[in-house]
Symmetry: C2
Subunit: 716 residues, 2 copies
């Protein structure tokens, strides 16, 4: 059986590369030992022991339990949204930082915050795709897969406080049901100010040497009887089944490190045609993201209310732009497109080498390549439509209208994301929408998208949108500027959705209520309904086709490059390697550690406006036990060659004995294209050193309560 092959074939660890499924780790025992791992690798496969039992997903980030009272360590940049929801009027917790001196001061982060703890994996390939006829039409194939997955998830979620999903591995060669425990009351315990947590901001972002203290602490709460519970002041700290031990010693150059977390997505199993498309997408993102970053920056600079709403988004956009630029540079420098094209040529040669193989695989692989190039003709339109989708108000309107329609069907037949299991999260999102909403910015985004769409050749313009625009501004001969202006006036004149109560009421409304509403956004959502559904139908058919042809390519890739870990898919993975610098280009070498001395040397105007208390503590030079013995001072950040990507943010970095020695928070600029092509010479993870966290809590913040809870006696 194809789906069992990876279990039979011991994976061979390529240097540094590999986000390993826990079950694969025992087979990597010799590689782990060679890297310096001192423990039993079978322990690393066990979800019900530390360390894996202590790892949780924040949905897009990773965290880990570090005390018996549910204390969680993660990155500051992972809690910015929570901090926004936790702050009171006039507060700027993301900017100024926050520390709860007692548990009673810990701040609720809203019902939208969820954390999940992975409980088990089950191979469900046979159930999902085992019985599908090869002749099934693509849309029907998609629907059959979707139905099978929904049934599996629904059955799995019958257990209390359980969230389940089915994840595809290796391009659909395997489907795995992931069962997780869900905790719903999460509070903010401590977050450092921005000029500690994102010291250097956009100037340093991705660029070693970094000096960012990108850490934060949360706490999970549950009911008094020890069950997960909705947010409630009467809840008590959650007692996790497992927690990590915190190292006082840290690690140094060459030492073994591993991270465990939820890497979101890599694309190393993609075709060269998809990489070529990615290059074009990144070029678009440079332009569009740059525009959006400037828009939000200007709003934050000129409107005092904007900072609270937009800081987190702007940070994400800035990150995306840097990532796009770095990826393009990296693709160019490493000749990635050519290298992947060569790999694909090797795949074609392998397929062609055996007639039976060729007759089975050649056609689907050719079809895959055709499918992934299908959207090139509508690239500009799709880009502008995605910008229209960035309006919080329009997305909310479309989502609410969609909910009203889906609710008319039985639960099992609804579209994924619009089932009863999704109601609580959707409602929480509606309640907290205000915290990130800034009307002038929302309007500017819609304006740009509308003007761009109106400038397209008529044949490419979505007819539903055009009809709505002309109905909104019926003046004969109205030009693009007039149509856009008329639409914006209608949309942003007292939009119903800007009011939380109205949003929640609409969450329960029937489709007819939307069709009757004079509100601009609701009317536009109704107008776009058929367009959205047609695109979804197309996308479903395409997904069905991809589900049919991708496994053929994956099978060939697995034969040509055996021992390759599956692409990241937001499931729990473990990566390992060593603390290690690199050479970004000729004649330059980066050492793998930075220190508070380097931090102080960089201090100056924003983004290097280190807080006075931090600089004073550095000047005082009292390091206590937190100094690195070799460097004689406190290490701030360090590099390792562990393999990671978005979603790993906040992952605990563990030493050879499984103790917490840092938190992964970024990849480096030179390795930024590693989602597509991993280059062991320059791909690096960046970690904040646990000794900097401890020293900061102890010497700067004087957060004795927190230090003690980490199992360590404050010394400064």
């Amino acid at each position: 059986m194809v789906s069992l092959l990876p279990l039979l074939l011991a994976p061979s660890a390529l240097a540094g590369e590999g986000m390993w499924e826990p079950r694969q780790l025992p087979a990597l025992a010799s590689e782990l030992r060679a890297a310096g791992h001192a423990g039993d690798p079978t322990l690393l496969a066990d979800l019900h022991q530390a360390p894996l039992g202590a790892i949780v997903s924040l949905g897009g980030c990773t965290a880990s339990f570090v005390s018996e009272r549910g204390l969680l360590a993660t990155n500051r940049h992972c809690v910015l949204g929570m901090a926004q929801r936790a702050q009171r009027p006039g507060e700027r917790l993301g900017t100024d930082g926050f520390y709860a001196p007692t548990e009673a001061d810990e701040r609720p982060t809203g019902a939208v915050t969820r954390i999940t703890v992975t409980q088990g994996f089950e191979d469900v390939t046979a159930t999902v795709v085992g019985k599908l006829s090869p002749r099934l039409e693509d849309r029907a194939r998609h629907d059959a897969i979707d139905t099978a997955i929904k049934r599996l998830v629904a059955s799995c979620e019958r257990a209390a406080d359980t969230r389940c999903r089915v994840a595809a591995f290796e391009e659909g060669l395997r489907y795995v049901l992931v069962r997780s425990l869900e905790l719903r009351d999460v509070r903010l315990v401590m977050v450092p100010p921005d000029m500690v947590g994102s010291y250097g901001d956009e100037v340093d972002n991705w660029h070693w040497p970094r000096h960012a203290g990108d850490f934060a602490f949360l706490r999970a709460y549950g009911s008094r009887d020890g069950k997960p519970a909705d947010p409630d002041p009467g809840n008590v700290p959650w007692q996790p089944a497992h927690r990590l031990e915190v190292s006082r010693r840290g690690v140094g150059p060459g030492d073994f490190v591993m991270i465990a977390g939820f890497p979101g997505r890599t694309e190393r199993w993609r075709t060269a045609a998809e990489l070529a498309g990615e290059v074009r997408t990144l070029q678009d993102r440079l332009v569009e993201g740059g525009w959006a970053f400037d828009l939000l920056s200007e709003a934050i600079r000129t409107d005092p209310t904007a900072a609270a709403a937009l800081t987190s988004s702007r940070s994400g956009i800035g990150n995306g732009v840097s990532a796009a630029r770095g990826s393009l540079e990296s693709f160019t420098r490493t000749g990635a497109v050519a290298r992947v094209a060569e790999r694909d040529a090797a795949i074609d040669a392998w397929v062609a080498a055996d007639p039976a193989r060729a007759s089975r695989l050649a056609a689907p692989i050719a079809e895959l390549r055709a499918l992934v190039q299908k959207h090139e003709g509508t690239r500009a339109r799709d880009l502008h439509l995605s910008w229209l989708g960035r309006s919080d108000l329009l997305s909310t309107a479309r989502s609410l209208y969609r909910w009203s329609r889906e609710r008319q069907r039985p639960d099992a037949q609804r579209r994924s994301g619009y089932q009863e299991r999704d109601v609580a999260r959707a409602r929480a999102g509606l309640e907290s929408l205000d915290s990130g909403l800034h009307l002038a910015t929302d309007r500017a985004v819609v304006q740009r998208a509308l003007l761009a769409l109106l400038a397209l050749p008529a044949g490419q313009q979505p007819p539903e949108l055009m009809a709505w625009l002309r109905a909104t501004t019926p003046a004969p001969g109205a030009d693009a500027a007039a149509l856009a202006e008329g639409a914006l006036t209608r949309l942003y004149t007292r939009p119903a959705l800007a009011d939380t109560a109205a949003r929640l009421a609409l969450f329960e409304a029937a489709p007819a209520a939307f069709r009757a509403s004079p509100d601009g956004f609701l009317s536009l959502a109704v107008a776009l309904g058929p367009w959205d559904e047609a695109r979804e139908a197309e996308a479903d058919a395409e997904a069905g086709a991809l589900a049919r042809v991708r496994p053929a390519f994956a099978e060939a890739l697995r034969a040509v490059q055996p021992g390759r870990a599956a692409d990241a898919n937001s499931t729990l993975r473990v990566s390992f390697g060593n603390v290690k610098g690199y050479s970004p280009r000729e004649a330059i070498t980066y050492a793998p550690q930075t220190t508070v001395a380097g931090l102080a040397a960089k201090a100056g105007p924003w983004p290097f406006a280190a807080p006075r208390d931090l600089l004073a503590a550095i000047s005082a030079g009292r390091w206590g036990p937190w100094a690195d013995p070799a460097l004689g001072t406190v290490v701030v950040d360090f590099l390792s060659d562990v393999d990671l990507t978005g979603g790993n943010s906040g992952s605990p970095t563990l030493d050879g004995k499984g103790r917490l020695v840092g938190l992964a928070f970024d990849t480096n600029y030179e390795g930024i294209a590693s989602d597509w092509v991993f280059d062991p010479a320059v791909s690096r993870g960046i970690h904040v050193d646990v000794r900097y966290i401890l020293w900061y809590l102890d010497a700067v913040l004087q957060a004795d309560r927190l230090v003690r809870e980490l199992g360590i006696e404050p010394e400064l």
Copy 2:
């Protein structure tokens, strides 16, 4: 005798720091040996042996004889002006490069090009200042020193083909007469294209890792009977008394290197007050230089004729701006102002420690500090006036008018620079003015200066200039814009000086001819005559005062920091050290060598548009004997900790046996403030490796004639 102290006191070489006078080198024998010098240090003091006998000054740059037929090696950036003068209509030798396949093809570089070979040093302190009464007034002191120096020079220059000057050492504690042989026929042999010679241009400028092939070859010519001669097609290659041997092996990390050349000026003997003034000057230069760079860039971009005229100037301005920025950063990073202030406090303490010493030195040191702060009140005015002085046409007009006045006096009483000995060079400058003249740019510079001067408080405006402006635009109530516009219209409507014949005629004209001329520039020069003379008189008095008080400070500095080399003063010096990288900031290390592989990796759009023939030769990978054994490829540039500054450009870099291993062409960004405060940890010289020069000539340019003349058989 105070002036002999340095001879008695063996200088102790501070690590890396020290531009040593040749006579000091025998006393540094142990330091030279410790650094890896294998030869006899007494040889290094001898102007009449190799290597020093082979070193020549280009006036602002250094070169060295590398063949028996007068071939000279120097930097490309040192010959850009010569290349402009050497090019024929339609040629762009500075951009496209040049190679003369035979001696007959070598291009004259104009009568303005002179090279000098140092023949001897003579201490003339007693003659210059030995008999001056301490009570002499400052202006009279200046005049007395000036007269004494002129007499010494005039007497020295009675010998044929001899140029002499008197240089002050150690702030006037010593005066030395330098006698040099002057060669006047210099031709361009080879210069690489800009994308070899200044590869990376402003992006890489100062910033390691560099990959600039900053080398060029000239040839000195003389008469058939072996004498220096004016440029003449009948001249023959000059046979130098000494030449350098060219190394085929180069040097590697840690190896001894030394450079010999003519460093222009350092300020390490200056007071803290002068360093503080320098910081303000650099801040001004950032603004003004940035403006000028943009102005010239725009002209070059939009006007095809501008490139030939302005490329060299723009390069110099860009360099100045980078230097200013780097110096300010370096001063900040190293706390230089505070460190020099501490040193001055130590000097004050030393002075105060002994009553006799205090009564002799305290007053002049205090007066020195007051003198150097005297111009702070008129800083803006002086800056704008210096910009007015950047107009080629106005400077020429003032200079011509000055010549006409000085010529009415006996030669010995004329101002320095306006004596018979200066006539030939001045005439050559007038003849070649066109090669760097661009009227629109000249006008923009004058416009900016005039508007800035007109915006000053009335009390600060030079009355002579204001009177001329009002006479030029007599409309009552004309505002600043009108006055400037009127002046510009008058100045740039058919300016007489734009014509070479007119300039040369005016060089012979009497003052009355200037006063009668309706030409704008001549009339402005006449108007400014009294202002210029008054400023000169002030400057002379100040120079006299400084000549009186600076030696007191220098004496104290010499006592507090013994063994310090004299500040650079454009006389022949030797620096030594080792091939060595450095750490520019925490966690970053720079290796000391770059290679053609790194050059090819950077290739892309300008300023990294490496020529195809170069990239093809790198791709071909045929290194012959020019590969570095450790790196397996050709080294392009390397770093060393030798001490150097402007004027050292083109200096031969010599190995422990005195063989040519490279050419110094720059200092690094982090060490850029070393003219004021030398920081051995980060101050580095940058050299182009002789093996890159040989490989380029051999493999890329196929310049077999040149390679053979260097004593090496071409291999590729």
